[in-house]
């Protein structure tokens, strides 16, 4: 893989649910070590974009690649997906952190984090658990190894889900509004963890409504509205000096 190849390249993405066109030609390339924040009004297609990028939803049109792996290619205006094995390889390249965590409620924190490395990646259990312990430490969850999700706060659960994604060594991590289910003080601890990852040059795409956070961590801010990228650039360009009227309207609305 050449260093210039994007970690993820989504090109010309279109997605409709019935008559409703949710993505109307979105292209997004993410370079290694880059942090991209996606902002925009509710219903603008942010979640759908992440779901298409993580293969939870199928594109109608457009292509999707992770480095040298082509997960989906555009063939005369229709998306054709690769075979199962190739998609499995593609899945090993990314992780996804959900808004509502989606931890496995019947498993301990340790099991939530270390199980996929063992069962999916066939790594030795001792090694996977050792690494999980390090991640637990790093997420500020020491002592929670043997707890189950219902014994944790929302902020702790979200940090477990970040650790669960990191345990598989993804090249890129997607976050879909990771703090919007949390109280302000719990939000802060989750954002702190994500900032740590940004400082380590983890490649990330983060859907967020936290403008201060976006300004702080994002190398690039993308404003998505009506299924299209209306404006993108540095945080300074998009958040502080938006050029488009729709961006301005959105920013002034959430500033209220």
């Amino acid at each position: 893989m050449t260093s210039t190849q994007p970690i993820m390249a989504l090109r010309g993405a279109r997605k409709a649910f019935g008559e409703h066109e949710v993505l109307r030609g979105v292209s997004l390339e993410v370079a290694r070590g880059e942090v991209v924040a996606i902002i925009g009004p509710s219903g603008g297609g942010k979640s759908t974009l992440l779901r298409c990028a993580t293969l939870l939803e199928k594109l109608d049109d457009g292509s999707l690649a992770f480095g040298d792996i082509t997960a989906a290619r555009d063939e005369r205006g229709r998306t054709v997906y690769a075979a199962g094995d190739e998609l499995k390889r593609a899945r090993s390249r990314f992780g996804l952190v959900f808004q509502n965590y989606n931890l496995f409620p019947h498993r301990t924190v340790m099991h939530n984090i270390a199980d996929a490395p063992v069962r999916v990646q066939k790594r030795p259990r001792a090694e996977a658990e050792h690494e999980a312990r390090e991640l637990i430490q790093k997420m500020g969850l020491a002592g929670c190894e043997d707890k189950v999700p219902c014994q944790l706060s929302g902020g702790q659960q979200q940090r477990v889900s970040i650790a669960r994604a990191l345990a598989l060594h993804p090249e890129i991590l997607f976050f879909d509004e990771p703090t919007s289910a949390l109280d302000p003080e719990l939000t802060a601890e989750v954002l702190r963890v994500i900032k740590t990852l940004a400082a380590e040059r983890m490649t990330m795409v983060i859907v967020t409504h936290e403008m201060g956070f976006a300004r702080e961590v994002a190398d690039r801010v993308v404003f998505l509205d009506g299924g299209m990228i209306v404006e993108e650039g540095t945080a300074e360009q998009v958040i502080d000096h938006p050029r488009e009227e729709r961006t301005r309207a959105f920013l002034s609305k959430i500033a209220e």
């Binding site: 293969l55 992780g95 219902c150």
Partner: protein, 217 residues
């Protein structure tokens, strides 16, 4: 007739009731999975056939189903009924009847698992079989346990329906003894047997529920 002789005869009958019980569990628990999968199949005709099957099983008396299954081979294919036919018909009827109830319980349990669980598993790279075995199934078991407990307790009592077709389980024995001894004691003993056994069933179910109470969602 002494009490101990009566007790011995009823115990013998109870062993037959237990056989009906365990054969039904052994057959209907797995068959219910197949029925539930059919009920949730993407193939519409299969889904409808299974739906009608479940509707008939739940909508008609188990006693009638036993007779239908008992006489069907003779009326449909002219096959002679043998002394074993009653027993076979009883077990078959119990299994296909209870499989329908279990299937609906499984289905409700499966459908109650949030989609996010499947999606998290998919993104983590679990195969469909792994997702089912390690993530979905354990959660389904916890959710369906109370409903399954109800059905299992009902099954213990339903074994007495085999009396109607002439299988010598405990209730038939009790009824025969009541008639010959002109005493209600055999019925009382039978009641104690059913209740004590169900009490044990309740203990097992409570233990299982307790074991799974380490988490809630």
């Amino acid at each position: 007739m002494s009490f101990s002789v009566m007790l011995g005869m009823l115990t013998e009958g109870f062993l037959v009731s237990l056989q009906i019980f365990f054969f039904t569990i052994a057959g209907a628990v797995p068959l219910g999975v197949v029925v539930a999968l059919g009920r949730m199949s993407r193939v519409a005709p299969l889904r409808w056939i299974v739906r009608i099957y479940i509707s008939i099983m739940r909508g008609t008396p188990l006693m009638l189903q036993m007779f239908a299954i008992y006489f069907a081979p003779y009326y449909l294919f002219g096959i002679q009924l043998t002394p074993d036919s009653k027993w076979q018909a009883t077990i078959t009827a119990f299994i296909v009847n209870y499989a329908a109830y279990f299937a609906e319980i499984y289905r409700s349990g499966l459908q109650s698992i949030p989609r996010g669980q499947y999606e998290a598993a998919e993104v983590l790279g679990y195969s469909r079989a792994q997702t089912f075995c390690y993530i979905v199934l354990p959660q389904v078991v916890k959710r369906i346990l109370p409903a399954m407990g109800n059905e299992i307790i009902t099954l213990v009592k339903d074994t007495s329906l085999a009396f109607s077709i002439g299988v010598a389980e405990m209730f038939s024995t009790a009824k025969a003894l009541v008639a010959s001894q002109v005493s209600m004691v055999p019925f009382a003993i039978a009641a104690v047997f059913y209740w004590v056994f169900n009490f044990l069933v309740e203990l097992v179910l409570a233990a299982a529920e307790k074991k799974l109470s380490y988490y809630h969602d």
